[in-house]
């Protein structure tokens, strides 16, 4: 491999570590211009940066804004490469698709967003629907994109019941175990998750990733 290419991979990783979307997009364009296989750009370049930040975060050396910005830079780079991937009929191998939302009547956002960030950083393809989302919409989206996991956040004792309702709905439609459901939020305990027949819960984003990997059989 030429030194130039080696350097390009390094720069790609660094652009993610620096959380610099402008540069990551520029480098993705450069990859296209020199006919680098888009999958190589992703796996040998950008992903190396994501993994590094993820590890540093796990060690307590990198902080949240760095993680989030790395995620944004990654997303921007992949979006630039996506049309090329499509042209080649290739797809980036992901850990699986996840639909994430805070349940209807509940506007707590931060925890869900963090879970989404960590899942993306760990190779999941995450569709974050936002807060205050009705069950139909969440299930509809999951079917539309053929998601393997629905992640539901609820922080109020009055809205946790929405988690149960959604699971009941999935069962009624015979959509489980095809779609797995993980739940979380301040009042959510393991007992609750068991009681409503969820596939698992976690108290933080790192645990959510672990759980998601188990659910897709890639732990």
């Amino acid at each position: 491999m030429s030194e130039d290419i080696e350097k390009l991979y390094k720069d790609m990783a660094q652009s993610i570590i620096d959380g610099d979307s402008d540069i990551s997009v520029e480098l993705a364009q450069k990859a296209i211009a020199i006919n680098m296989p888009p999958l190589d750009a992703i796996t040998k370049g950008f992903v190396v940066g994501v993994n590094y930040i993820g590890d540093q975060f796990g060690l307590g050396e990198a902080f949240l804004p760095e993680l989030v910005m790395a995620g944004e830079a990654m997303k921007a780079a992949v979006a630039t490469l996506e049309p090329e991937l499509l042209k080649l009929g290739e797809a980036r191998e992901t850990m699986g698709r996840v639909v994430l939302a805070t349940v209807e009547g509940d506007i707590h956002e931060i925890g869900k967003t963090l879970v989404g960030t960590m899942l993306s950083a760990s190779g999941f393809e995450v569709t974050d629907l936002g807060v205050d989302q009705p069950a139909e919409k969440i299930i509809g989206k999951a079917l539309e994109i053929n998601a393997s996991i629905i992640g539901l956040s609820a922080l109020l004792t009055t809205t946790m019941v929405r988690q149960r309702e959604l699971i009941e709905e999935l069962d009624k439609e015979n959509l489980r175990p095809r779609i797995k459901v993980m739940v979380g939020g301040a009042p959510i305990t393991r007992d609750w998750a068991t009681k409503i027949k969820a596939d698992g819960t976690s108290e933080d984003a790192v645990g959510a990733v672990k759980l998601a990997k188990e659910l897709v059989g890639k732990a």
Binding site: F57, P65, I110, G111, T157, T158, P187, T189, D204
Partner: protein, 484 residues
């Protein structure tokens, strides 16, 4: 016999200036700039109509409102600077007049350390009753927040079950943060009307106040806005609490987070004044910094303490009472961290004379109720109460006669002056000053004594009962809200 005395901090002798006049004005100007140029989200039809009627720039799609500074400033001038939080027992009314710091319990917890088993479990209606009863007996607790969530009651009427439970178990003022939709807000006003004995009396002596969270950054929750407007219509004191937090829902810098939080509270307060000029309102805040490593929001830490003092500078600037989050801690049990965070946050919020402090009793970022923590928080408040009296320097306290009669050497123990003033000194309940060996025999500490005290109160204290007829009426109202 029930305690009627309530301990509040007043006539402080200690002062602190956390922000200069110029700094306060800079934050105020930044706030007006945000409201005018960035805008605030008001996802409520009613709120948007009110803004539109006064000529604000309303984007109905995005539900974002931009308002000229003069509209905000004029509206804020209508806020009453002083009023009273009424209690079922008028002796326990609380003046919000800038010269009283009143402690409340914290609220809306989801788990409790069971006082008998010591195990953590999900909260129920009976916990609301029990905690209210303990708070009723405690002179440090001046008013209630609905302490924990009654999770064994139907979700759609839960906030009402909780209110009933507190009123039935205490004569003190009640503030709730668990009424955040139109149906429950209307029903709670109906309950209050019955409790007060009519709409006019309710307005004169509101025995309930409502606290609504803003939705940082720069937004609000529709249900909360509508509930607040209903309360304001009835003359029930209403406050908006910002929980903007450095890093996530606010910039990493404290000044920026203050500006974001202030813009949320100021805009919503102005809305209430535009709808109901002169309605009693308060400023509420629990600003803090997010943990950079995990994103956790637990409260506590130096930024939290500074915010505790800074927000009062803002609410004083607007001349409205403040309800300030204090005692927040990420500690998992009543320990070093809990004491540290409770002590410093409450000192900072008290030394600037925040009118209401929220509140005692919680662990793990406002999630887990602990009776031991509650009792020890009360003692922290008592210590701060004592400190705020400062050092009195006059002829009597200089004790010259006593000093002369003891002279060099000897001791002051046998002096009349000493005996007369011994009780000026603070008598701790939970500070361990025993000989080492006594401790070694038992290895017990504040937590055990605090739990024992709460147990004793639960066993013995009977609050003045609520008229059964009123309870029956409450039941009827609650039933009408519950889904059939």
């Amino acid at each position: 016999m029930s305690h009627k005395k309530i301990k509040t901090i007043s006539d402080p002798k200690i002062k602190l200036e956390v922000l200069t006049k110029e700094e306060i004005i800079k934050i105020h100007e930044a706030t007006l700039n945000i409201i005018e140029n960035v805008g605030i989200r008001f996802p409520s039809k009613r709120a948007l109509e009110i803004w539109e009627a006064v000529g604000a720039d309303v984007n109905h799609d995005k539900k974002i409102v931009k308002v000229k500074p003069y509209l905000i400033e004029d509206a804020l001038k209508q806020c009453p600077p002083k009023y009273v939080l009424a209690a079922r027992d008028p002796q326990q009314d609380l003046p919000l007049d800038g010269n009283h710091v009143c402690l409340g319990t914290d609220g809306c917890g989801v788990e409790v350390i069971d006082i008998n088993t010591g195990e953590k479990r999900t909260t129920e209606l009976q916990d609301v009753r029990d905690i209210s009863r303990v708070a009723d007996a405690t002179e440090e607790v001046a008013f209630h927040w609905v302490p924990v969530s009654a999770q064994d009651t139907p979700a759609e009427a839960r906030g009402l079950h909780e209110l009933k439970a507190v009123w039935e178990n205490s004569t003190k003022h009640v503030q709730t943060e668990s009424i955040y939709n139109v149906e429950e807000a209307k029903a709670s006003m109906e309950m209050l009307e019955i409790l007060a004995g009519g709409k006019d009396k309710l307005r004169e002596r509101p025995m309930l106040s409502l606290m609504q969270c803003t939705a940082p950054p720069l937004g609000h929750d529709g249900g909360s806005l509508d509930a607040a407007l209903i309360a304001a219509e009835y003359g029930v004191p209403t406050g908006f609490m910002t929980m903007s937090s450095c890093l996530t829902t606010g910039p990493a810098t404290m000044a920026g987070t203050l500006a974001v939080g202030n813009a949320e509270v100021v805009a919503a307060t102005a809305l209430l004044q535009l709808a109901y000029p002169g309605a009693p309102v308060f400023y509420a805040a629990a600003l803090t910094a997010t943990d950079p490593r995990s994103g956790a929001y637990t409260g506590g830490g130096p930024e939290d303490f500074l915010f505790g003092a800074a927000v009062n500078a803002l609410s004083d600037f607007y001349n409205i009472p403040l309800s300030m989050g204090s005692f927040a801690t990420g500690a998992k049990e009543p320990n070093w961290q809990a004491g540290l965070e409770g002590g410093l946050s409450t000192f900072m919020a008290s030394v600037v004379m925040s009118d209401m402090l929220l509140g005692c009793g919680f662990l793990h970022g406002s999630r887990i109720w602990s009776y031991a923590e509650m009792m020890m928080d009360c003692e922290i408040f008592s210590i701060i109460h004592k400190m705020m009296q400062g050092i009195v320097v006059d002829e009597e306290t200089l004790a010259m006669d006593s000093i002369a009669s003891v002279g060099p050497g000897g001791h002051f123990l046998a002096q009349k002056h000493t005996r007369n003033h011994t009780r000026d000194l603070f008598m701790p309940q939970f500070l361990d000053r025993r000989p080492y060996t006594l401790w070694e025999d038992k290895k017990d500490d504040a937590r055990d004594w605090a739990t024992a005290k709460a147990k004793k109160i639960l066993k013995e204290h009977q609050p003045d009962p609520l008229d059964e007829k009123i309870s029956k009426e409450f039941e009827r109202i609650i039933k009408s809200v519950e889904k059939k």
